[in-house]
Amino acid sequence: MRALLFFVTIFYVNEYVQAVRQIPDDILRGNHTNNWAVLVDTSRFWFNYRHVANVLSIYRSVKRLGIPDSQIILMVADDMACNPRNPRPATVFNHRKQHINVYGDDVEVDYRGYEVTVENFVRLLTGRLFPGTPRSKQLLTDEGSNILVYLTGHGGDGFLKFQDSEEVTSQELADALEQMWQKRRYHEIFFMIDTCQAASMYEKFYSPNILAVASSLVGEDSLSHHVDPAIGVYIIDRYTFHALHFLERVSPDSMKTMGEFLAVCPKQECISTVGVRRDLFPRDPHKVPITDFFGSLRPVELGINYLNVSIALPLTENTIRPVKQEEKYHYAQQFPTHLFQTRAT
């Protein structure tokens, strides 16, 4: 009885205490004002199902943590969901137990099919798109934007293969990011790449404020996680699987740091070694909240006094406003004789 009373008291006290989560002093939110994400899957065909599942899973996480679709650029060949070989049409799963349909109802693919080319990718990053490109296909970032760049597909030492027909080299990517820096089109970039020999892609970067993580070092292959026996192809890669496992436990007000994210997937799970490049990034990743890149939390200011605008208002009686004509509807004449009327002489 006493124990019950004790617990009940605790319960009510807790309810009345304002549970304000204090941000620890050493985790400083960055000075960015908005968040963008560029998610690219560079391969097509049915046997590359896992790359589509990779990128769509990251898309789901990023959307769940708050980045709106208008600030996500998704480049996918998009030939999985409606592929004739897909036994469950209009769905893409990232686990053989089919927990989550990562394709869903509200996926917004910005560059699909044969639009995923190196030229479009570089045009997107540098901003040199043709006039008349729709706004959803443009990266309208400014100097306060943090960008998450995620690439997945087949890669090699110094290049990334785009749709089995062309390649983007690490030098081109580094130059494109430098052009972005010259125009101040980003505040910080978090570059994630999940391909074979992925670390070779970030080795040539020379612009500041970039934190890069790769699923494998030069000379190593990134391996896939497991096969779905119902489909017959591998459905997710190891690094992305473990990264998702981490991100699933992140909520928009989470205090997890980028340092913890960089340590995800140790060698015994991933078999390949995760490579990190942090020399271009001025802040300590252990002090950077994960929502700086994966979520979208805008900075907020309080204490703005309002202006007293009741003095000398322009009076509405003086302004002549157009009177709205009520629309009157009538039936059209069945035989428009009025068109043939001639003036009676």
Partner: protein, 555 residues
């Protein structure tokens, strides 16, 4: 007799070559020379010319020279005092201070003011409206008003137009502070320029982070969110309120940029956060508390519904949220657990906009005889007043720190003081000129390094226009003409952007050098080797011919 010399009859030797080989050698050498001439002397330049990439010549030196030129803002400050010597003393003190300024070059002019005009003025407002107040954009008048203590307790009063009224006993130090911190805002300008030129070393200050990035047009989106229209009914004339309150302010800013105002109503959109219920206490009614940490989580899900991304212009969002009676009154609490004072339940997000929480009146909520949906009236002066304050900050008019014994006249209906508008012009001019200069430098470096990119006429014209506009802008700033300098800087900014983001600069018409050699060498090297090797023989033959002629002469 055959016309050509018989090859076997006369045997002469010149050097090592026997005669018959000399004749054939001549023809062979002539053939080799003709190959050489056609392939190398004619062919090589022809190939070079035909594979040349079309490149319009660019003014590289002028662009590099822009780096050396410093942006100097020239302003004229007139000091009008009763005693001309006092005026001269003030002018020299102020001049000494502003000599060290890097961005401003201030010319001080001293005049004497008529005592009768000042004595007859009934109020400061009358002085403001009199003819003494016509100033060119960017200029300031410091007017000594001997009777200032009868109007205000402060020593210095900054008017709405470009006049600063100061009392007779004001020191030059105080006037310097007023000019430096309030009217010129040199530190803000300096921070902005250094953050653009070297972003890794310096960052924008708070006012700069709030200020929207420079653009030629902005969208202003006013949204009213009613999460439960079955409980709360809002019969508000939003369009009229915008026309009355926001439009006069935006008309002030019309020369700076286009502001397109849109409005929308959102229904059934709840706050995706849980405010805490604070129960009834002595002196405090029961209310809901929204702590400062939860505020960003309001903006994030709301952004998806606002449809602020239909155009490419940067968008300023102003949202009014009206909670139903069951969730009101909703108050914002600061991080320390203290309720927000001032009676304004609003917050601002830099470069995004602001949100106001408009609680329905308690008497209507408590009155059970009023049937749902309960009508809630709009308190437009409070709502629009808050929006205007937030809009001023977002547009770039900063909040100024207090200086002791210095005050400002309150704002008029237009919402903007003339010297604030001048400051805004200066900030935008410097931002646009610096941005254009950085863009041009980056572009000239890119186009200079990669010698194979096509530079077509459009890009060339844009670059020329941008460079001329930057030079014109700097010249106009030297003359002190703010409005024309703004036009020039806008032209420079837009032209530089157009040149940089021209889609043709990415035409993959150029190949890296190693690919070029890999294609040409297998084709041309087998042909060129014999031609180049025959140069040796041509040289020997020519040398022997010369020696032969020499020997004949001697003989």
């Amino acid at each position: 007799m055959s016309s050509h010399p018989s090859t076997t009859e006369e045997i002469k030797t010149v050097g090592d070559l026997p005669v018959e080989k000399i004749d054939k050698t001549d023809y062979r050498i002539y053939a080799a020379i003709s190959y050489f001439v056609i392939l190398i002397v004619i062919g090589l330049p022809l190939w070079w010319k035909t594979t040349e990439v079309y490149r319009v010549p660019l003014p590289y030196t002028r662009i590099a020279a822009l780096n050396e030129s410093d942006f100097v803002l020239v302003t004229n400050v007139t000091i009008a005092s009763l005693d001309i010597d006092r005026g001269k003393q003030l002018a020299s003190d102020l001049d000494n201070f502003f000599k060290t300024s890097k961005l401003f070059k201030v010319h001080f002019v001293v005049t004497q003011v008529q005592k009768q005009i000042l004595a007859s003025a009934q109020s400061i407002q009358a002085l403001e409206l009199s003819s003494v107040s016509r100033r060119q954009a960017g200029d300031i008048l410091l007017l000594e008003v001997p009777g200032l203590p009868r109007f205000t307790p402060s020593q210095v009063l900054v008017g709405r137009r470009r006049i600063v009224y100061f009392a007779t006993d004001t020191s030059s130090v105080k006037l310097t502070e007023v000019l430096q911190q309030w009217l010129f805002q040199e530190e803000t300008l300096q921070r902005m320029i250094s953050s653009m030129v070297s972003p890794t070393k310096s960052e924008l200050d708070l006012a700069g982070r709030r200020r929207m990035p420079t653009a030629s047009a902005y969208d202003v989106m006013v949204t009213i969110v009613n999460p439960d229209p079955e409980k709360v009914q809002l019969n508000w004339d939003l369009q009229e309120a915008i026309e009355n309150f926001l439009s006069p302010f935006l008309r002030n800013l019309a020369p700076l940029a286009d502001y397109n105002v849109k409005s929308q109503w959102l229904y059934f959109v709840p706050l995706q956060v849980q405010p805490k219920l604070v129960p009834e206490q002595p002196g405090i009614r029961k209310h809901f508390a929204l702590s400062e940490e939860l505020l960003p989580h309001i903006i994030t899900p709301l952004e998806k519904k606002l449809a602020s991304h239909v155009s490419q212009n940067p968008c300023l969002n102003f949202v009014v949220y009206v909670p139903p009676c069951s969730e009101s009154p909703l108050y914002i609490y600061r991080q320390e657990g203290v309720i927000l004072r001032g009676g304004v339940n609003a917050f601002l997000s830099p470069r995004w906009g602001g949100i106001i929480i408009h609680n329905p009146p308690q008497d209507i909520c408590d009155n059970t005889t009023v049937v749902e949906p309960k009508p809630v009236e709009a308190d437009w002066s409070k709502i629009m007043g808050t929006f205007l304050a937030q809009l001023r900050l977002l547009v770039g008019v900063p909040e100024l720190d207090d200086i002791p014994r210095v005050s400002m006249l309150p704002l008029a209906a237009s919402g903007m003081r003339q010297w604030e508008l001048d400051s805004l012009y200066r900030v935008r001019i410097m931002e646009q000129l610096t941005s254009a200069m950085l863009t041009l430098q980056s572009l000239s470096q890119l186009l200079g390094e990669i010698s194979n990119i096509v530079i077509d006429d459009e890009v060339g014209d844009s670059i020329q226009e941008a460079v001329s506009a930057v030079e014109r802008g700097i010249e106009l700033l030297h003359q002190g003409n703010l409005l024309a300098a703004f036009e020039a800087s806008k032209q420079a900014f837009l032209s530089a952007e157009a040149a940089f983001t021209d889609p043709s600069l990415l035409a993959l018409l150029y190949f890296p050098d190693d690919q070029k050699y890999a294609v040409y060498i297998p084709l041309f090297l087998p042909v060129m080797i014999p031609v180049l090797m025959s140069l040796k023989n041509i040289y020997l033959w020519a040398a022997s011919k010369v020696r032969h002629k020499g020997k004949e002469k001697v003989d």
